[in-house]
């Protein structure tokens, strides 16, 4: 089953296919946690399967993955645990799947977050990407379904995109195993600090809101100096997220974040 045809790229030593070991569900000891986020129906589960060697069924309907699925792989003698989050369009609402995804990104503190997007529907998908980038510093954009985008005559300038988003961008066609070695290499570079991100922060916010966010996030940083995503916490507090407020009150938030 795994005897997929090898492309010239995969045979190239730079991709170090020999360094990769798919560990399936064996997630016992690991050096890094990798979260997999993305809109529904962008092929998240396919990317997950391609990397872990698992065979989670991947149906073509939104909402296929209802809980977190976990798997693992080993690359260059480092073990990575992968968490496949439910697909969501946004992280701003209160539905159960969005809460699972949001809380994992916020409190699970993944070492690297892969954001899977549908290359043909990039603009719509960026909504989630920009929200994730408010939460986390180490992320890679997996520009999936490139085969479809090509058929739709779309050309995507990945360099400009990477520069604008401030994170590496890897084009893939996970269904055909294309781009997966590059993705794994990028994950490893991010996890080991060989690539440093400067994630895009949301700019087009009305002035009064921006100043409120800044005021609040400065206060949050004063209270909790080591917090990585004070701006996102400020967003949540302004939104009135009862879960975050509750955790703040109980002091759990800090434990979780440190």
């Amino acid at each position: 089953m795994e005897a997929t045809p090898k492309s010239a790229c995969e045979a190239c030593p730079q991709f170090n296919a020999a360094g990769l070991k798919k560990l399936g569900v064996n997630t016992t000891e690991f050096d890094f946690v990798v979260a997999l986020a993305g809109n529904p129906n962008t092929g998240k589960s396919t990317v997950f399967n391609a990397i872990t060697g698992l065979r989670q069924h991947t149906g073509n309907w939104p909402g296929k993955t209802v809980t977190r699925a976990e798997g693992a792989f080993e690359y260059n003698e480092q073990k990575y645990k992968m968490v496949d989050l439910p697909g969501t369009y946004s992280l701003l609402s209160t539905s159960e799947d969005e809460e699972v995804a949001r809380n994992f990104l916020l409190f699970g503190q993944p070492s690297v977050t892969i954001i899977v997007v549908d290359a043909s529907r990039l603009e719509r998908n960026l909504n989630l990407v920009l929200q994730v980038l408010e939460i986390t510093d180490r992320a890679v954009l997996c520009l999936n379904l490139m085969d479809e985008a090509k058929r739709n005559n779309l050309e995507i300038d990945t360099r400009t995109l990477a520069r604008d988003l401030g994170i590496p961008v890897v084009p893939t066609s996970a269904r055909f195993n294309k781009g997966i070695p590059e993705l794994i290499q990028t994950i490893s570079d991010l996890a080991n600090g060989r690539i440093v991100c400067k994630p895009h922060r949301i700019k087009n916010i009305p002035k009064n809101i921006e100043s409120a966010v800044q005021k609040l996030s400065t206060e949050i940083e004063k209270e909790f100096p080591n917090i990585p995503n004070s701006r996102w916490l400020a967003f949540r507090l302004l939104e009135g997220d009862s879960h975050v407020i509750e955790m703040l009150r109980k002091g759990e938030l800090i434990e979780e974040l440190q």
Binding site: H57, W61, L154, I205, I245
Partner: protein, 469 residues
Amino acid sequence: MNNVDNLINLSKDLRWQIGDDFHDNLAEGIYADAAEIVKDSVHKKDENKKLRLDATIDRIVTSRVWGFPIMFLILAVVLWLTIVGANYPSSMLATLLLDTVHPFLRSMAVAASFPAWLSGFLIDGVYLAVAWVIAVMLPPMAIFFPLFTLLEDFGYLPRVAFNLDYLFKKSGAHGKQALTMSMGFGCNAAGVVATRIIDSPRERLIAIITNNFSLCNGRWPTQILIATIFVGAVVPKAFSGIASLGAVIGIAVLGMAFMFFVSWGLSKTVLKGEVSTFNLELPPYRPPRFWKTIYTSLIDRTLIVLWRAIVFAAPAGAVIWLISNIHIGDLSIAAWSIDFLDPFGFLLGLNGVILLAYVVAIPANEIVIPTILMLTVMVTGISGGEGAGVMFELDSVTATGDILKAGGWTLLTAINLMLFSLLHNPCSTTIYTIYKETKSVKWTTIASILPVILGFIVTFLVAQIWRLF
């Protein structure tokens, strides 16, 4: 701690200052950023034709006129391929497992001088039950599941949800229930797990309770066999195939009707509430990767469901053998129970054998027919089986029909059996899954009992009306 309270108070003040359109402003800001980024990095070479093709397909399969006929046509094709395609491998497996391996095991037991009760219990009870389940279930599942998965991967299921949404909304249920219903056609336990995609607890409960009305994989073979023997026989031979296929689809559609009716009843009584709105993206059609899909659906679905059936069939086979061979007075336990259940069965247009078979077969729907055959042979005393409490399959459909007719079966018995197979308690795996998902004894009980009560009512009414004419 005080500082935290200050923080929260500050956030409250600020929220007051910026007004209540914070959420909208934030969302708009994000979209504005997204549009800027895309403008610089994405270039469209020309109008894309693929999207237009998708839109054209969607216009047809979700149209008011063609949506439903196409759905039924696809269901019919899938069923027809399953019924016709499963015949040959089924009879080959039956020849191998029942006519070759079974006598061989028996002679081995004789050679090893097993006591008669032990070889009866193990080989005629446990082994035969398992062999039957493999021979009868494996081929249809190996065809039905991959076909279903191909449709799923192609992207057809969300269109089904789109077509049925109006009906679900009318019955006070969630539109995504169409998806969990479709999963139920494969396996009700899987359908119940899939209800997690429904956010509202009220609508999720409705979806769980009514999932059993999706005819599951353990029940398709029963429907197909009985329809072939009895419904196919009342029309001229040339049309018997179409008549039996029509009967099976009729039962499946009736199940859907019951799903809407019960959903409606629940949402008007114990599970009152508003219908929640939701967005369902119609994903682009994607040509499924054929072999990969076949492989994963065989491994992940077929073998797992088959394994479950075997695990449940083995002890059931043992129980059948035991109740047929342990005697109280001059009759076996099975004979006592059948005598006791017979008058009740008559009221429902069924008989004691069928009712007892449904009690024995609670763990797995797929062993209902072999149990019925075995018990019928025992009651009528005709030869054809291999002895008391031995589960067997007869080589031809005609021979099966002869036994059932000798047991006093009529067209009414057959139709009511098909109805009762649709409307009875879920199998024990599904019941357990319902409990795990709802964590409530009350709802699990309702989900288990409600279909049986409906089954009793429906078969009773059909029997009474039938006998009037």
